[in-house]
């Protein structure tokens, strides 16, 4: 049980950090694109939200496997395959949770409008400076919401992990798979403890999100 909790927390943390690095700039770009191709890209990014996790897992398995399109590249890096490894799980989770970061952050950037951005430019801030010192802090509510959602969402991941990682204890066996296996083996008490823990954690995550939103809206009032 403990290795699975540790693994799940690690996976969720690494995924959330990676998505902060990748998802926030991507959301910024998407917030500023208004053409049809911007919307197309946004739809592509949002796709994992509605795609069945098993389908995502299936494609990731093919993509990251030894015979996949990334196979030669992985071989050159000295890796046989990323499937059934922690790295593979992280890549799968990043794709799976991407929209949960990008959507709220993009929405937060859009809600700012061009006003603060233009004001920053007229006050001698270059684009990068204006992004760091104005756009990012003003969108902090959306970014925090995105991070919390990513973390909670990745923590409860099941389908993608099952397809991509199997259930190798200590390596790819995450919490929801432990719960599934416990039920499968009729260990109801164990499954109950873990399920209650996850339900409690999820509630706290949603509560934190609402408190963040309340604080942000008070700042703007």
């Amino acid at each position: 049980m403990w290795p699975a909790i540790k693994l799940s927390l690690e996976l969720a943390t690494v995924t959330t950090l990676l998505l902060l690095l990748l998802g926030v700039p991507l959301a910024w770009m998407l917030a500023r694109c208004h053409g049809w191709w911007g919307e197309t890209l946004a739809a592509l990014v949002a796709l994992p939200m509605v795609l069945p996790p098993t389908v995502i897992g299936f494609y990731m398995l093919i993509l990251l496997g030894p015979h996949g399109p990334l196979g030669p590249l992985l071989a050159r890096l000295g890796l046989h395959t990323l499937a059934f490894s922690f790295t593979g799980l992280v890549i799968g989770s990043v794709v799976y949770s991407l929209p949960f970061m990008v959507q709220p952050v993009r929405h937060a950037f859009r809600a700012l409008g061009p006003g603060p951005w233009e004001a920053a430019l007229t006050l001698r801030a270059g684009p990068l400076d204006a992004f760091w010192s104005v756009a990012l802090p003003l969108a902090q509510g959306g970014i925090l919401t995105g991070a919390i959602m990513c973390f909670a969402h990745t923590l409860g991941e099941f389908g993608v992990v099952l397809m991509l990682g199997g259930d190798i204890p200590g390596r790819t066996e995450v919490l929801s798979i432990v719960i599934f296996n416990a039920v499968d083996n009729l260990q109801w008490a164990e499954a109950g403890r873990l399920a209650a823990g996850m339900a409690g954690f999820s509630f706290l995550a949603v509560l934190a999100m609402f408190l963040v939103e309340k604080r942000v809206s008070r700042l703007r009032a």
């Binding site: 006003g115 233009e118 920053a120 430019l121 007229t122 001698r124 270059g126 003003l138």
Partner: protein, 361 residues
Amino acid sequence: MSGIEARFAGRLGGFMLDAAFSLPGTGITGLFGPSGCGKTSLLRCLAGLTRLPDGFLRVNDEIWQDGDIFLAPQHRRIGYVFQDSRLFAHLTVRRNLQFGLRRAVARGIGEAEVVGLLGLEPLLQRYPARLSGGERQRVAIGRALLAQPRLLLLDEPLAALDRAAANQILPKLREISQLFAVPVLHVSHDIVEIERIADGLVLMRQDGRVAACGQLAGMLTDLSLPFARQRDAAVVLEMTAGAHDAAYGLTSYSAGGVTLTLPGQPGAPGAAVRLRIRASDVSLARQRPDASSILNILPARIVEAETAAGPHVNLVLGIGGAASPIRLLSAITRKSWDALGLSVGEVVYAQIKAVALAESR
């Protein structure tokens, strides 16, 4: 080279902008025109927030836009005050004020001076969400000033404010332009606002063209422009406060051989003031009335008259020295014009019923 020279022509969204004008390197210039004529678009072009190809902009000896040259907004030494203030919600007033200051290369306009002038001291620790509309605009003006601009652009900063708040800020704009020697371009659709503070005027037409630009006083009394023909037409006079008559509570003001007397004592003797006289408050008489309640009766020459159709005749009068007379406007009925048998060139007596103090300077 001092002064600003600008040419912007082209299609912006749904309408055409075709504006060419030059501004002096000092003082306040009003940018006036009907709503939707492109005043804000023009300001955005000056700031570099909108790029019109083929534009030209020179500020003193720097070219900001010409052909392939286009300085990004952050590289132009401008100050821009938006109609909606656009303060940064995540920063205190102090941090908002320091935003441009920290990034400016030159120094000269100090934080303490600006805070003092605009009365921002009690607001420094507050967040923008806890400021009133007038307070927000004062902070926005201070923030723009501290970015050390060589051109201060004000996009109707007072339009959303009530009269009391606007009256508090308006005189500050005059002080700013004089104290910090920064030219100000002040957009407004309220001519009275411009009459109170501006030295120059750029008049835009509905079709996005500049109809005229020049000195405010001259443009207000130009019968070929719309101002002098309006019902609430007025002139502004720059005068010096003279003796105060304490017994009657009257102060006399003089300039160019003309002395006007009006109630109140707005400043010490010698203070420069701007007076505003409405055309409808100036009536004419052939002989000097020997018994009248009107204090200010001056000999005047009829310089121009617009006697076309309509019940009114709009006149330009010259008062004071013959070499460079002060121009006044007068609106009288056509019936009176005919009854008195007046014509251009004649000398009459102008009876000024009311003079308003536009602004102490």
